[in-house]
């Protein structure tokens, strides 16, 4: 009844709709979010139903979008901001890092910053420059921000609900190449905590940890590995800040091996933090060093080579083999 089969984009759309319906303080704002419904149609139909005062086409200026969202939050609104593509968040970076992230602490808790920043991110869609990046580490390093990414329609729906309900700023990374992947969404469910990881496949030989678009790749890798007799556990981290280290630790204590997979460059990426912290927590459990599979230290390449840049099944399995070889 309340269970529908939806693609991720539509699940987010439904979640925004629900929030707009439930709380008159919720606003949706960004470039082209109105009539067009966003370049990915994630906000499709919302302006029509909630009006231009609640679903707001903004001037083309990301710092202005986030800066005014902060002001709106100070006035009691709960803006959900869309950044059109990952590569276009940087003009807003100053407002996000120096203002949005720090305002609550600066005010000694007297003001809250319930702002969600939605960013379609990641590659694999054959796009031009700036449309395929994974800048999550650049936000996760900054205290005061929470950083999450769903990998399924159900999480897309519920994590968006929770992000909007959160009194903290949440950077909500949407795996754009999975926008059209379908899955069941139970809009009556009782969701788990926003920042908890989830074991999406159980296994005993090695743990794969990923989030967003890479969860699917890891599940495929685990399926392929099974054919070769290897039992891989797959953890969907869901949150890059904070990270549910307890869940990863518990898994690694059983498997003894961890491979972290993300699209972002490995160098200074989230895999580094996970490797460092899990190695500290599981020093005597690890049979192999934590290995990382991710992007290279190079600008995201042109579309016709992106498949070589992005972690895929083979590169994950290669890392699995290297880990198991220890």
């Amino acid at each position: 009844m309340a269970v529908q089969k939806l693609p991720i984009a539509k699940a987010i759309n439904e979640s925004l709709r629900k929030a707009l319906e439930t709380d008159p303080k919720v606003l949706v704002m960004g470039e082209d979010v109105g009539k067009l419904g966003g370049v990915f149609r994630v906000t499709d139909g919302l302006q029509k139903d909630f009006g231009e005062d609640r679903v707001i086409d903004t001037p083309l200026a990301e710092s202005g979008i986030v800066g005014t969202a902060i002001g709106l939050a100070l006035r009691g609104y709960r803006p959900v901001v869309e950044i059109q593509f990952d590569g276009f968040v940087f003009p807003a970076y100053d407002q996000i890092v120096t203002q949005l992230a720090k305002m609550h602490a600066r005010a000694l808790g007297k003001v809250k910053m319930p702002v969600v920043i939605r960013i379609p991110y990641g590659g694999g869609i054959g796009a031009v420059e700036h449309h395929s990046e994974s800048p999550e580490a650049l936000f996760a390093h900054v205290a005061g921000l929470k950083v999450v990414s769903p990998s399924s329609p159900s999480d897309a729906y519920w994590m968006m609900q929770q992000a909007i309900q959160s009194d903290d700023p949440v950077i909500f990374f949407e795996p754009k190449r999975r926008y059209w992947d379908k899955g069941e969404v139970d809009t009556d469910a009782i969701p788990g905590p926003l920042h908890a990881a989830r074991t999406v496949r159980e296994g005993s030989d090695l743990t794969l940890a990923a989030y967003g678009p890479m969860v699917k790749v890891c599940l495929e890798a685990a399926a392929a590995a099974q054919d070769e007799g290897k039992s891989l556990e797959v953890i969907d981290l869901r949150s890059m800040s904070p990270i549910d280290f307890d869940a990863v630790q518990a898994s690694v204590e059983r498997t003894g091996r961890l491979v972290v997979v993300h699209e972002a460059p490995v160098f200074y990426g989230s895999g580094a933090e996970i490797a460092a912290r899990i190695t500290e927590r599981c020093f005597y459990h690890l049979e192999a060093p934590v290995l990382r599979v991710g992007g290279y230290h190079a600008p995201y390449p042109p579309a016709r080579v992106e498949e070589e840049y992005l972690p895929g099944l083979d590169r994950v399995l290669d890392a699995v083999d290297r880990s198991l070889a220890y």
């Binding site: 067009l36 031009v128 290279y296 070589e308 895929g312 590169r315």
Partner: protein, 422 residues
């Protein structure tokens, strides 16, 4: 829909639940609200008289003058301040430029449909703005484009097929900027206006009399970077022309979402002139840009040119304009087509004959063919190229990752499956 239509201005009262206008103005010009709002304003002595510095928005709205030398009907008109005197050859040249640019653009659009390009940003409708301004440039001038300046690239002599590399996905910029003094396409909106300003500061430092031109759109006018480029260029009196193609739309947003007064007026508050030109009139664009470039050369600093034009097509091949704009708007602008009006003029003045047009048709076909072939034979990049040019001086990190990647690739040498799953 023109930029002059005012943004909605509802007077607010404390009991009303409706907020100040975020409503997009309708196509028709909203009548100026003359009655003072209920609340106190009118009561205060100060408010009784309009502020001297009141915005044009508040002042009686006389239509901002559009510099025009060739009417939509193809009639040559004079403008009191901007004149131009071109030879028949030059006039035919401008026509040829526009026609070939449009043909190239159409070819690219269809190559995208055929899957040869991942995306295309068409300049359809903006040929006059681009060819007029592009032909105003000297070789030693320098151009900073957005991603849509295919006509300007044409004027600079950039081989058209080179523009397609990034849209095909084989590179992120397929030419040497210094070969034609035409910088790479810049996708992050507005950034290039600062590069242009810095470059112009360098030109001035060198004591050269070259000029720099920065292209940007109506949407881009909202970016802080564009404002900062106005500030820097004014303060350093940099020889730069800001050429804004106001094509009425930033993807789905009409210009009212970026400004409530005509964009050319923006410049004045930074201390340099702004001029609005009919962006579908190649002669006017040429004349006004030449004027602005000469100002730059002679040490008078920056100028903003707003070319009032129209994006006839979709934003890009990924866009669906039926979601947000009416056909009638496009149709109204078709009557102002930049190519047709010059053709009418050339024909009525007998500057070009049937042979000229026939030869140009052939040239079009040849260009189309050349572009098609060039695109289809563009090889995919070598995966190893990902690691090239990350740094000019190299990097141990890149070397390490390159070596790992090479070893990984080599590990598939004997395996039948060499690709990556998805």
């Amino acid at each position: 829909m023109t930029v002059e239509s005012t943004a909605a201005r509802k007077p607010r009262s404390s009991n009303s639940s409706s907020g100040a206008g975020t409503k997009r103005a309708t196509a028709k010009k909203a009548p100026e609200k003359k009655t003072p709002a209920k609340k106190a304003a009118a009561k205060s002595a100060a408010a009784k008289s309009a502020a001297r510095e009141a915005a044009p928005h508040d002042a009686p709205q006389h239509d901002p003058e559009l510099v025009q030398l060739l009417t939509p009907e193809g009639k040559r008109v004079e403008h009191p301040e901007f004149g131009i005197d071109l030879t028949p050859d030059e006039l035919r040249g401008l026509y040829r430029d526009m026609v070939l640019t449009r043909r190239f653009d159409a070819e690219a659009t269809s190559l995208q449909r055929q899957g040869e390009l991942g995306l295309w940003a068409s300049l359809l409708g903006q040929e006059a703005a681009q060819i007029g301004s592009g032909r105003a440039l000297r070789d030693d001038d320098y151009v900073f484009p957005t991603y849509r300046e295919h006509g300007v690239a044409w004027c600079r002599g950039v081989p058209p097929e080179n523009l397609l590399g990034m849209f095909r996905g084989v590179n992120n910029g397929g030419w040497d900027p210094n070969s034609n003094n035409f910088h790479l396409y810049t996708i992050v909106i507005g950034s290039q206006t600062l590069h242009a300003t810095g470059y112009a500061m360098g030109v001035a430092k060198d004591g050269a009399d070259s000029a720099v031109i920065a292209y940007f759109g109506d949407g881009a006018s909202s970016q802080g970077d564009v404002a900062e480029s106005f500030t820097f260029s004014a303060v350093y009196n940099a020889p730069v022309v800001f050429f804004c193609q106001n094509n009425q739309w930033a993807i789905s947003e009409p210009t009212e979402k970026q400004t409530r007064v005509p964009l050319y007026q923006r410049a004045r508050g930074y201390g340099f002139p702004g001029i609005r030109v009919d962006g579908n009139d190649v002669l006017a664009c040429l004349a006004v840009t030449k004027y602005a470039l000469e100002r730059a050369r002679s040490g008078e600093g920056p100028t903003l040119v707003e070319a009032f034009t129209y994006r006839m097509g979709a934003h890009t091949t990924s866009d669906d304009p039926t979601k947000y704009r009416r056909d009638e708007e496009r149709e109204a602008w078709e009557a102002k087509d930049p190519i047709q009006r010059l053709r009418t003029y050339l024909e009525s003045e007998k500057i070009a004959d049937a042979d000229f047009f026939a030869a140009l048709d052939e040239e079009q076909e040849a260009l189309g063919k050349r572009v098609r072939e060039a695109v289809r034979s563009m090889p995919d990049p070598d995966p190893m190229s990902m690691f090239e040019n990350v740094y000019a001086d190299g990097s141990a990190l890149v070397d390490e990752e390159r070596a790992q990647f090479a070893a990984y690739q080599a590990s598939f040498a004997d395996s039948p499956v060499a690709g990556e799953g998805k």
